[in-house]
Symmetry: C2
Subunit: 277 residues, 2 copies
């Protein structure tokens, strides 16, 4: 049993016996109880789970298996590799999480191609342990690494579940599934609906889980001093001088994604609805 | 206490008494137990929570309050409005969820401007109840509505927590926070870092929660027959004829987002790094 930082009983669920109901001290909610602490109260306190260091290599392997488990995909694989491994090693509260909800992340959230589902699976684990001010540099490190890293790196060898053999690597320049996947497919002439592409995303899920664990471990070591290591993108600094500066009449841009994929007049963003082959 | 569809004990947490540990039948995991069912096992079974109908108007009001609660933002507001309300009305397993993790969604996931955090908050609730085949038409309805609706609609009147008074509405054409927010700010000449913009996102969170509840209610009524009502976007059908068709050499595109904001040669996607004022 794990003791969180803020409460004795962290995230334990309802206490029920066949013949009746028993309660213990703390703010654990019994089954049948609703929200006795009031609206917006949370069992164990907000961000109240205790973080544990994990082996990035083990996380990568579990994430890859999670990706293929019932085809739940990237978000499930990356999230289970962190919180599921804590559940396997430490029990509650980690083993109380309804993991399959992360299936929503597949294909950039229900196949819409928005954020890479593995990235959401990784970054959302941080928010179980820390509030946004502490999470932001961790998220920035994970996301900026993803934009610039040549992925996938992980190779399951003979244990590959979708496609055996090496796969090409490419930089996505973007945390969006649509750009990350489509660019990899376009550059390498591999169909988006192919086993190679599925395998690529499975391996990338392993890479994201390993990076998430590295950042988690570094944060546990550094505590509030964790500052992050990846610098802000040049494009975001440049564009942000006007578009993200308070008091500027052009201060209308929200986001930290690299601006270049969509705002540099690249071939892909020209008019594809006119004179397009 | 709620009984799920697949197990007698759904999502109940650990069973612990001051003097020892007690277990009951079912696959509930006691504190201290890890994952006795094996890797990837889940308390209550995958997608094992029981869905309940909610009043969309009540959800909107709670979502708006959740958005402002400790500044947790859009994802927290939308998610709590669904699962938190079920917790308030029905107790476990809903009240076991570590709600504050949804703070990760703020600003399109840790201020990166990817998916609208409210949309993720809404769609991820569906995956607590159903697998992806049933979730997909629900997600499509929520996301396509968001692309085309003039938002925000919700108006808290005198109870406004960020900015009182009416706000302009606009269509986002996109489920991405960056486009949704930036377009609203650009069109209406309102700074991204302003109280009006925060208020806009708070009201939009209310709108997304209400729509999520409408879809949830319709799904509960229709069961497996739920087909969805929003047609696929013309751009996705048109581009998908080549870019999302198996066997086509140009089958490299992943996603269901409207293609036009980034692939129609719009002014915003021209080269902003050269001869830009």
């Amino acid at each position: 049993m794990e003791f969180g930082r803020r409460t004795l009983l962290t995230g334990l669920g309802g206490l029920v016996l066949a013949g009746g109901m028993t309660s213990v001290a703390g703010n654990s909610l019994a089954a049948g109880q609703t929200q006795p602490g009031g609206r917006f109260e949370q069992v164990g306190g907000d961000h109240g789970w205790k973080p544990h260091k994990l082996d990035p290599k083990e996380c990568a392997e579990v994430a890859y298996l999670g990706y293929w488990h019932k085809d739940y995909g990237c978000g499930y694989g990356a999230f289970y590799a962190i919180i599921g491994l804590m559940a396997e090693k430490y029990g509650a509260p980690y083993n109380q999480f309804p993991f399959a909800m992360l299936e929503a992340n597949k294909g950039g959230i229900s196949d819409w191609g928005t954020i890479c589902g593995a990235l959401y699976g990784g970054v959302s684990t941080f928010s179980l342990f820390w509030g946004r001010k502490e999470v932001r540099p961790m998220a920035n490190d994970l996301f900026r690494w993803y934009e610039t890293a040549k992925l996938p790196v992980f190779d399951p060898g003979e244990k590959a579940l979708g496609f055996k053999g090496s796969l090409p690597q490419s930089e996505s320049d973007s945390v969006l599934c649509h750009i990350s996947v489509s660019k990899w497919c376009y550059v390498n002439k591999i169909e988006a609906e192919s086993k190679q592409r599925s395998e690529r995303c499975g391996r990338l899920t392993a890479d994201v889980a390993a990076k998430t664990a590295e950042i988690l471990n570094a944060k546990i070591d550094a505590g509030k001093d964790y500052k992050g290591v990846f610098p802000v993108q040049k494009s975001v600094s440049y564009c942000g001088e006007c578009h993200q500066t308070k008091g500027n009449e052009a201060n209308w841009a929200k986001g930290t994604m690299d601006c270049t994929p969509c705002h540099s007049g690249a071939k892909g963003t020209m008019n594809k609805f006119k004179d397009h082959p």
